[in-house]
């Protein structure tokens, strides 16, 4: 007997952002287009700060929290929410064979140490030796572990017991698209039954404002929705965390899990950004691979950042599908780089599970009244990489 094609369900979601924590807070935040921005701390740059969070609820040991920097706490917290949401928290047997793919950048600098060293270095008699001395004395050993990209996954293993496998993808926005893509491909191919996939970002850091401002990518001045930043392009860096539990349907059914949505397809691309129109063309290729036929209840959840060329070309591309309402989530949750695609797949699953799209922000986005059953998720990196996913209501015909 031939086996039925394997199907991947999203059975757990853990999200935190400026809008709060969990599905309800995000649904409410999007319903009222709640704007949470900090225009002062990094002025003139705008960031989306993390909502107040009681980390004890998902990271009970203070010792564990002390071993982490904020980006890891955010991620470990969101991962815990996802495991709770899937009903697998504490299930040692299952977590011991759960696969994990994390999309991560690097950790925080100690800004006080960096500033003090930079201040004193020019006056030091022997600058090289002075630097050695200061680093030996001032760097905290634990900070190093907080800076290593794979130590978010490490902390999720320690705090939540996820140990089936552990891979960390880096490389800005592409990391998130590929994390979801590979998790899905492994499940569909029978290489995995259940996976935790996600990541986190701490956007409330001067060092990342500096990093992206090398290229002039940070949003400054007046806040506008992402589609309306042509005059002053840029993304508003966000603190956020997003994790999904993605599971083979039969595995989910066997343990009586309730699906939130189906993760039908994900593809990632890599256009030659030196060529005008390349992003638009790449989105077209990915669309042909991922989307297939859409019904009337379809919409686009866009990861558009507000960065000039990337957002303009995505907008051009989406304009060729005028039947589809579009929502750029970055207007409300901001841009968290590596985990952004995961966040948007989560928000798409949320909307599909409620059967309804949230209200528009800005003129490019038009209202949608009818029921929502399919959401195409875009993720165009600010500098490199494109991603596209399809999230559908469970109960629609399974993909072939």
């Amino acid at each position: 007997m031939a086996e039925l094609p394997r199907e991947a369900w999203i059975t757990g979601i853990g999200i935190v952002s400026c809008l709060g924590e969990g599905l309800e807070a995000h649904w409410a935040g999007f319903a009222e287009s709640k704007r949470v921005i900090d225009t002062e701390t990094y002025a003139p740059y705008i960031v989306h700060p993390l909502a107040p969070i009681d980390f004890d609820k998902q990271i009970p040991k203070k010792g564990d929290q002390r071993q982490m920097e904020p980006w890891q706490r955010i991620g470990t917290y969101a991962a815990g929410l996802a495991l709770d949401s899937a009903g697998v928290k504490g299930n040692k047997e299952l977590l011991g064979r759960m696969d994990m793919i994390v999309a991560a950048g690097g950790g925080e600098r100690d800004e006080a140490v960096d500033s003090a060293i930079l201040t004193a270095l020019p006056k030091a008699e022997r600058p090289d030796i002075f630097l050695n001395e200061r680093l030996m004395n001032d760097l905290r050993p634990t900070l190093f572990l907080a800076q290593l990209s794979n130590l978010l996954a490490g902390n999720v293993s320690i705090v939540h017991g996820v140990t089936g496998s552990s891979r960390t993808f880096m490389g800005e926005e592409s990391a998130g698209a590929d994390a979801v893509r590979i998790a899905l491909a492994r499940i569909k191919a029978g290489q995995s039954e259940i996976a935790l996939v996600g990541g986190s970002y701490n956007g409330q850091r001067s060092d990342v404002v500096m990093l992206f401002e090398f290229g002039g990518y940070c949003l400054k001045g007046e806040f506008k929705p992402v589609w309306e930043r042509a005059a002053q392009p840029g993304f508003a860096i966000a603190s956020l965390g997003a994790f999904l539990v993605v599971e083979n349907r039969a595995h989910a059914e066997a343990r009586g899990a309730t699906p939130i949505a189906r993760l039908s397809a994900v593809a990632s691309g890599y256009s030659d950004r030196g060529q005008p129109g390349a992003i638009k063309d790449e989105l077209g290729r990915l669309w042909a691979k991922v989307v297939g036929t859409l019904g009337p209840g379809a919409a686009v959840i866009s990861g558009a950042t507000g960065v000039a060329t990337a957002t303009a070309e995505e907008r051009d591309f989406l304009a060729s599908h005028p039947e589809l309402p579009v929502r750029a989530t970055g207007t409300l949750v901001g841009h968290g780089v590596e985990p952004q695609m995961v966040m948007n797949v989560a928000l798409a699953a949320l909307a599909v599970s409620r059967g309804k799209l949230f209200p528009p922000n800005g003129a490019f986005e038009r209202p949608m009244d009818g029921p929502l059953t399919q959401a195409v998720v875009t993720g165009v990196g600010h500098w490199r990489g494109e991603g596209l996913g399809l999230v559908e209501a469970v109960g629609r015909d399974a993909p072939g």
């Binding site: 270095l121 190093f144 500096m210 990093l211 002039g216």
Partner: protein, 426 residues
């Protein structure tokens, strides 16, 4: 004729091209000569002033000029050299068109001290330098090139463009298991039938002052600075930490079917890969060894072989007190009575610990070991550790008849990956 599918019906994955750069040399031939002669690539650091530092040695790759020198720039250059050797040997695709994806193991990327100092100066801040000053300088547009340089995707971007790999390149880190993970991702993609080929590259060029100090503050590094060549002494009683090193390894993986169809020379078979994460501690292995034992067992199961089928172990063997003891105990648990009959050597005794690159470099070395039927030694083995009862191939290379080997990689954050490599079946 050997089967193109394994016992579970999955495509058999083979290696058709390999490249390597270490502090010993560039290229497989010169590395092999030096490894089998028991030479060390560890030296005193001259790249920066080490006055006042506890550790003043490393396996730096000083013969590859990179200007301006940053870790990602050096990592990129080393990765390119290894990839070029691997792709040329495989003869796959055409120039600038590699018919498969790129999986790149690379260290996390950060702005470094020379750039910070440059920004501080450009900011014109006189008294106190704050990050606001650095941001102001960054926003001037004069440092646009640093955006690209310090993106995590910058190294894979350059490689993907040069080799014309397909789709989005994946940059990954599983700490000191990264190299093995890059192979694992390519291996799985071929097994899924997504692609017939994958370019798996792992690189590290991280010997800069802050990285060295960070590892030093964790008390992970050897402080046996004199002579540098004697510092990395895996399995010895007086081992006192690992030695940071640089290098890159690259492997062209292909489905056996596609490789045979194009008449490629088969260098070896990627027979199986095991993985199991550890939830015990951020830098230490679970004292019961279960994750490492489970990892090796999964690799054997995945390859469809028994412990008795393994003829050689290329150890993770970092030369830290804890790793070598734990690895030895776990090998004994997995291999039982057979453990004492299996030669196990640590090529880190000569190359040092190339961190993100180690898993791929050691996979290349292990396949050369099978090819030449000769085992590179564990050098600096002068004070045996009575707690380590394995045959560590002390100090001198040895000929042996081998069909199959296992290569271990373990990393901070509870990362464990084991590869089972084999000769092409007759």
């Amino acid at each position: 004729m050997a089967s193109i599918r394994d016992k579970s019906g999955r495509p058999v994955v083979v290696v058709t091209g390999m490249g390597v750069v270490t502090s010993l040399a560039a290229g497989k031939d010169d590395n092999w000569k030096k490894l089998t002669a028991g030479e060390s690539g560890i030296r005193s650091i001259t790249r920066f002033d080490t006055t006042g530092l506890k550790t003043r040695i490393a396996g730096t790759v000083d013969f590859v000029p990179v200007d301006p020198l940053t870790s990602p720039a050096l990592a990129g250059r080393l990765a390119d050299m290894a990839a070029e050797e691997a792709v040329a040997q495989s003869g796959i695709g055409s120039k600038g068109r590699f018919p498969g994806p790129l999986f790149l193991a690379v260290a996390p990327v950060e702005v470094e001290w020379p750039q910070r100092q440059e920004l501080a100066k450009a900011s014109g801040a006189n008294d106190q330098v704050a990050y606001a000053d650095l941001i102001r300088a960054a926003s001037s547009g004069k440092f646009r090139h640093y955006h690209e340089r310090f993106m995590f995707s910058s190294v894979s971007d350059t490689l993907a463009q040069k080799y014309g790999t397909e789709g989005a390149p994946i940059s990954l880190s599983t700490a000191c298991a990264s190299g093995a993970s890059s192979i694992q991702l390519g291996f799985e993609a071929i097994r899924r039938g997504e692609t017939n080929a994958a370019l798996c590259v792992a690189t590290d060029g991280s010997v800069n002052v802050e990285s060295l100090i960070r590892f030093s503050l964790l008390s992970a590094l050897s402080i046996s600075n004199d002579p540098p060549q004697g510092a990395s002494k895996p399995f010895s009683k007086n081992r006192d930490g690992f030695v940071m090193a640089e290098g890159a390894g690259a492997l062209v993986l292909e489905s056996y079917e596609a490789a045979k169809a194009r008449g490629a020379n088969i260098l070896g078979v990627m027979a199986g890969i095991g993985e199991l994460a550890d939830s015990f501690h951020r830098t230490r292995s679970s004292p019961d060894g279960k994750p490492i034992v489970g990892c090796m067992r999964r690799a054997l199961d995945d390859a469809g072989v028994t412990p008795e089928d393994i003829d050689y172990i290329n150890a993770h063997g970092t030369s830290t007190p804890e790793n070598d003891k734990m690895e030895c105990q776990c090998v004994i648990t997995v291999f039982g009575e057979h453990a004492k009959k299996i030669p196990i050597s640590s090529t880190k005794s000569m190359i040092g610990h190339t961190l993100s690159a180690a898993g791929a470099i050691e996979a290349v070395v292990t396949l050369m070991t099978l090819e030449h039927q000769r085992i590179p030694p564990t050098i600096n083995y002068n004070v045996p550790d009575p707690g380590i009862t394995l045959d560590v191939v002390p100090n001198v290379a040895r000929d042996a008849k081998m069909e199959r080997a296992i290569s271990n990689s373990f990393g901070f954050g509870g990362q464990n990956v084991s590869l089972v490599l084999a000769r092409e079946p007759a």
